[in-house]
C-alpha cells in the first residue's frame, strides 16, 4: 500500500458495457444507452455513466482490498466519456494520515489527455 502511484488503462468504452452497467446499477437514464435520447439533451451521442467511470477508478485499489478498504471516495466529474474513448485512471499517494490511512489523489483522463474525473481516495488498512 506504500506505492507512490498506481494506474490502469481501460479498454475502449463499448455500448454493451453501458447497457450492462445500466442493468447492474439500475441507472436507466437513456442518455447512456440511446443515442436519440442523448441528442435530445444536447449531447452528440451516448455518454458513459459518471458512476461507471468512478467505479473503474475505484478498481485501481482492488488488489489492496485483502488488507483494507476505501474509506472515503470523492470525485468531481469534469468531462464526458463517449463510446470508443480510452480512459486511464491514476492514483497518486498524497498523504499518510494516521497509521494505516493513506490519501490518494485520483484522476481519470481520456485518450487526448483531457481530465474527465478528479478526486480523492482515503484508503484504510485493517
Amino acid at each position: 500500500m506504500k506505492k507512490q502511484f498506481d494506474s490502469k488503462v481501460f479498454s475502449p468504452v463499448h455500448k454493451l458495457e453501458l447497457i450492462k452497467y445500466a442493468g447492474a446499477s439500475g441507472d436507466f437514464n437513456p442518455i447512456h444507452i440511446i443515442d436519440e435520447e442523448a441528442k435530445k439533451t444536447g449531447l452528440p451521442s451516448v455518454i458513459q455513466h459518471g458512476m461507471l467511470t468512478m467505479a473503474k477508478v475505484g478498481s485501481v485499489f482492488s488488489n489492496h482490498l485483502d488488507k483494507g478498504y476505501i474509506q472515503n471516495f470523492s470525485v468531481r466529474f469534469k468531462g464526458m466519456v463517449y463510446e470508443n474513448d480510452t480512459v486511464t485512471a491514476k492514483a497518486i499517494l498524497k498523504d499518510k494520515k494516521n497509521e494505516g490511512l493513506y490519501t490518494y489523489e485520483v484522476t481519470a483522463t481520456n485518450q487526448e489527455g483531457k481530465v474527465i474525473l478528479l478526486g480523492h481516495v482515503d484508503f484504510a488498512l485493517l
Partner: protein, 181 residues
C-alpha cells in the same frame, strides 16, 4: 422564453423567481425544487444480494473474488465478501414525496462516499436521501440547477454505515423538456 413580456421582465430584474411566477400565470407546470430542501425520503430496507454484487463487479470490469468468493474472503482481513466502493449507489433510497426529477438528461456533477466500515454481502442496510441544498448558475444556455443530495445507509441497529453526497445538475433544456411533458 417564448413570451415577450416574460423576457422583458427577466432582462430588467434578472430575477429567476419573478420569471417563474410569470410563467406560472401562463399555466405551465413549474417544479419548485426549493420547496423540497431539507425533505427526507421514507427509509427503505435494502438487502445486499450476492448475485447483484457479482453482476455489478462484472459490469464495472472488476470481477475480483473478494466481492463474491466466500473461500477467498475467509483469508482476507474482512473474513467475508465485501462490496465494491461504488455499489452503495445502487441501493433504493426511497422517494422524497412530490419531488419529480427528469427521467432523462440529469447530469452527475459530483459524488462522494464516506464509510465507517466496508459493506458486506448479505447485509441489511436501511437507506434514505435528503435534498440538502440547491444552487443556481446562469450560463450561456440558460439557468443550471445544482441539487445537493445526501444519502445515508444505516444498520439494523441504527448505526450509520456510510454517507454519500451527490451533486445532480439540471440544465435549462432538460428542465423545460420535463415541464412540457
Amino acid at each position: 422564453m417564448k413570451n415577450l413580456k416574460t423576457l422583458i421582465i427577466y432582462v430588467f430584474t434578472g430575477e429567476l423567481k419573478l420569471w417563474l411566477i410569470l410563467r406560472n400565470i401562463r399555466g405551465r407546470k413549474i417544479i419548485m425544487y426549493e420547496n423540497f430542501i431539507g425533505k427526507q425520503s421514507v427509509i427503505v430496507k435494502n438487502i445486499i444480494e450476492r448475485g447483484a454484487v457479482k453482476k455489478f463487479a462484472e459490469a464495472i470490469g472488476d470481477p475480483h473474488p473478494i466481492y463474491f468468493d466466500e473461500e477467498y474472503a475467509k483469508n482476507t482481513k474482512h473474513k467475508k465478501p465485501i462490496v465494491p466502493p461504488t455499489f452503495a449507489k445502487t441501493f433504493n433510497y426511497g422517494q422524497i414525496e412530490g419531488l419529480e426529477l427528469p427521467k432523462s438528461g440529469l447530469i452527475h456533477g459530483e459524488q462522494a462516499f464516506y464509510y465507517e466500515r466496508p459493506l458486506k454481502t448479505g447485509e441489511v442496510v436501511f437507506c434514505s436521501r435528503t435534498l440538502k441544498e440547491i444552487n443556481e448558475k446562469k450560463g450561456s444556455r440558460g439557468v443550471m440547477l445544482f441539487l445537493n443530495f445526501e444519502e445515508k445507509g444505516e444498520s439494523v441497529e441504527g448505526e450509520t454505515i456510510f454517507v454519500a453526497k451527490r451533486l445532480t445538475i439540471i440544465t435549462e433544456k432538460v428542465r423545460q423538456q420535463m415541464e412540457e411533458n
